[in-house]
Each structure stands twice: as structure tokens, then as C-alpha cells.
């Protein structure tokens, strides 16, 4: 694949290294002259100096033949604009953007820029995961596909505790994809019995969350729907 990466900060540079290792053709674009020179020492012709929000800079980097554009500059406006232009003007098939400020995730969404990655938001979710003050954690929202993946800990008094997967009255389209018990995970079958304390990963339609929570005896998450990776 030919991949253009806008922004040669820590994220952009390391991403470029990994992708080059995987035999992809990569061009990095960096606006800061000093940073450009530092990275150029290592990546040589695979980095260009310029402002990736300037259309001619993108064109010089060969955006018309790019399979993917990754916008990981430190400016959310720039990342939104680069992704928007890549997708809508140059018809690049895949774009990935970084949201530096998770509050801007809704703007990315509104402008149709997706998928968006926010490190801050991911860390917030991990904190939620590590410090579960409620029983349910959103792992992934696939908004376009209308699916989400949740993790829920089965409560002592939950209707599901002691029942087999087949007996559970799960909503249509909801699937238990994995059960974590005593530190190891497995894919359950219809006759797998759910125990209190199990951590259950389930794929479901976003609207079915209350039903699923009720079955497993979890409270709804306070931060549900914040941000998206879909």
C-alpha cells in the first residue's frame, strides 16, 4: 500500500517505521523544519518538508495515488481538514485521523471524518476498565455498522449467573463472543454455563444495551457513547 502520514511527531514517526518494516511505501509530511531534518536523517527521501494542509504539498507527496492517508499532526483542525480533503477531493479510500482533544471527537464525527483515534479517550476507557466503578465497559463502538462491543462483569444476583448461554434470553443480534474466567478467556458454546464473576464480552446493537445489562446484572456505564472508534 502507499500510505501518506501527515505529521512526524512521535506517533507519525513510529508509525512510519512500523509500516516501512511491513514493506509499505510511506511518505511522511512534516511542517517543522528542525523536526523534518531530524527524521530525514533516518527516513531520508521518505519524509517531505511542508504543510500537509496545503493542497500542493499533498499533491507533491502523490496523494492521488495514495491508498491511505493518516492525519496525526498535533492540531485537530489540521487533521480534520487533511482527512476531509483526502477523502472528498482526492478520493483516497482509507483515512485515519487523530483527535488530540477528545472533546473534538464530535466535530470529526459531524464532518464525516472517520475513523478517529484519540489517545486520551483510549486511556480514559482503560482507566474505566482498570477501575471498574460500574459493571459495564464500552470497548468499541462501530457507529456506521450500528454495533458495539461491551465488557460486563456478571453480578452475583444476575439472571445470567448459573445459566447456560443457550438459556439466556439475549436480544436478537446479540452474541457473547468471549468469557474471561480466572484470568483466562475462551469462546463459549451454547451449553457453556455463565458464572458470577465472569467477564463477558458481547457484540450487540447499541439499543439493546439495557436488556443485556439487566441479564448480566450490570449498571449502565456513565460515559457511554463518549467518543467512537468506528
Amino acid at each position: 500500500m502507499y500510505i501518506i502520514i501527515a505529521g512526524a511527531g512521535k506517533v507519525g514517526w513510529n508509525l512510519a517505521r512500523e509500516l516501512i518494516d511491513e514493506q509499505h511505501e510511506v511518505t511522511l509530511i512534516e511542517v517543522d523544519r528542525n523536526r523534518y531534518l531530524t527524521v530525514e536523517d533516518e527516513l531520508e527521501h521518505r519524509i517531505q518538508h511542508g504543510d500537509a494542509t496545503e493542497l500542493w504539498v499533498l499533491e507533491r507527496a502523490g496523494i492521488v495515488r495514495a491508498d491511505m492517508v493518516v492525519a496525526v499532526t498535533g492540531d485537530d483542525e489540521d487533521n480534520m481538514l487533511i482527512s476531509q480533503v483526502a477523502k472528498e477531493k482526492y478520493l483516497v479510500e482509507h483515512t485515519i485521523a487523530r483527535a488530540n482533544n477528545p472533546r473534538n471527537l464530535e466535530h470529526f464525527e459531524l464532518l464525516g471524518v472517520r475513523p478517529v483515534v484519540s489517545a486520551t479517550d483510549l486511556i480514559l476507557r482503560l482507566i474505566e476498565h482498570e477501575v471498574p466503578h460500574h459493571g459495564l465497559v464500552h470497548l468499541l463502538d462501530l457507529r456506521q455498522e450500528q454495533l458495539e462491543i461491551i465488557e460486563v462483569e456478571v453480578a452475583e444476583d444476575a439472571p445470567a449467573a448459573g445459566s447456560s448461554i443457550g438459556e439466556l434470553e439475549l436480544p436478537d443480534g446479540c452474541l457473547v463472543v468471549s468469557v474471561l474466567r480466572n484470568g483466562s478467556g475462551f469462546v463459549p458454546k451454547a451449553d457453556t454455563r455463565i458464572e458470577a464473576g465472569d467477564e463477558v464480552l458481547a457484540v450487540l446493537n447499541p439499543g439493546d444495551e439495557p436488556d443485556v445489562c439487566r441479564l448480566f446484572g450490570a449498571y449502565r456505564a456513565g460515559r457511554d457513547g463518549a467518543g467512537t472508534a468506528g
Binding site: E77, R103, N104, H107, L110, L111
Partner: protein, 149 residues
């Protein structure tokens, strides 16, 4: 008319003062509190006494846009010093806040042209300068600077 102006530099402040003199309601948003001084330069009263509003905040922050009254705006002018900020804020104003008229300053002629094709009302001072300078070079047309403010 209620006008919200995002970005209070030379251009934004001059438009703000002109609009308020013409009797319009004007609310200005800028991340720099000191930008307020530009609104009172050449005015014989304070900006607030003249009926103007001034909010300190970053253009992409929804709270700041709310604070500036974007929901009631008849017109939004995006005149920060960043083309990309202006382009993104303009799209938020149109798509999220359904502002009827949005005018965007874009210095880069290429971005201005493309986003104008996408339905944004862009004004490109660089293009205007290119046209005027070319005309001044080629012909004997007198180019006179307009009134500021």
C-alpha cells in the same frame, strides 16, 4: 441582524466595528482577551457601551461558540488567522448550528477554491490581491485602498 465574528484580528475587529456602526447586533469571539482592545480603537465609546459582546474562548470549543450566541446568529464570519480553523468552524456553524449565512476567510487560494465548490462562502484576500496587483501591473487602473473599519 445578529452577527457572530470568530477571530478578532485586524479583519475581524474592523468588520465588527463596521457592523455595529450600521446598527447590527455583534458578538465577537477570540482566544486572546487582549484582542478586545482592537474593538475600541478608533471608537468613541467602549465596545460594550456600543452594544457589542465579546467572549474569550477557542473557536472549536462548543461552550465558547454557545457563549458567543452562535445558535441565534443570522451570520457567522470566520476570520481567525488560521485557514483550517476557519474552514472547520464554518462547517460546524452550518452543519451543527444551522446558521443561515456563513462567511469564511481563507488565505490560501487553493483551499478557498475547493471549499467554495463544496458550498462554503469563502473570501480569499490573497486571490483579491493577486487580481488587483496583476491589474495594476498590466493596466493603468488606479488601485485605491478602501476605508478601514
Amino acid at each position: 441582524m445578529f452577527v457572530v465574528i470568530v477571530g478578532c484580528g485586524r479583519v475581524g475587529s474592523a468588520i465588527a466595528k463596521r457592523m455595529i456602526r450600521q446598527g447590527h447586533e455583534v458578538s465577537v469571539l477570540d482566544e486572546n482577551p487582549e484582542a478586545h482592545a482592537l474593538l475600541e480603537h478608533d471608537m468613541d465609546q467602549t465596545w460594550e457601551d456600543a452594544g457589542g459582546r465579546f467572549t474569550v474562548g477557542t473557536a472549536l470549543e462548543v461552550e465558547a461558540l454557545h457563549g458567543a450566541g452562535i445558535e441565534q446568529a443570522d451570520v457567522v464570519v470566520c476570520s481567525t488567522d488560521g485557514d483550517n480553523t476557519n474552514i472547520i468552524v464554518a462547517q460546524l456553524a452550518k452543519k451543527r448550528f444551522q446558521v443561515p449565512k456563513v462567511v469564511v476567510r481563507v488565505l490560501d487560494p487553493y483551499r478557498a477554491e475547493w471549499y467554495s465548490e463544496q458550498g462554503l462562502q469563502t473570501v480569499c484576500p490573497t486571490q483579491v490581491a493577486i487580481d488587483m496587483l496583476t491589474e495594476a501591473v498590466m493596466g493603468d487602473v488606479d488601485v485605491v485602498a478602501g476605508d478601514i473599519g
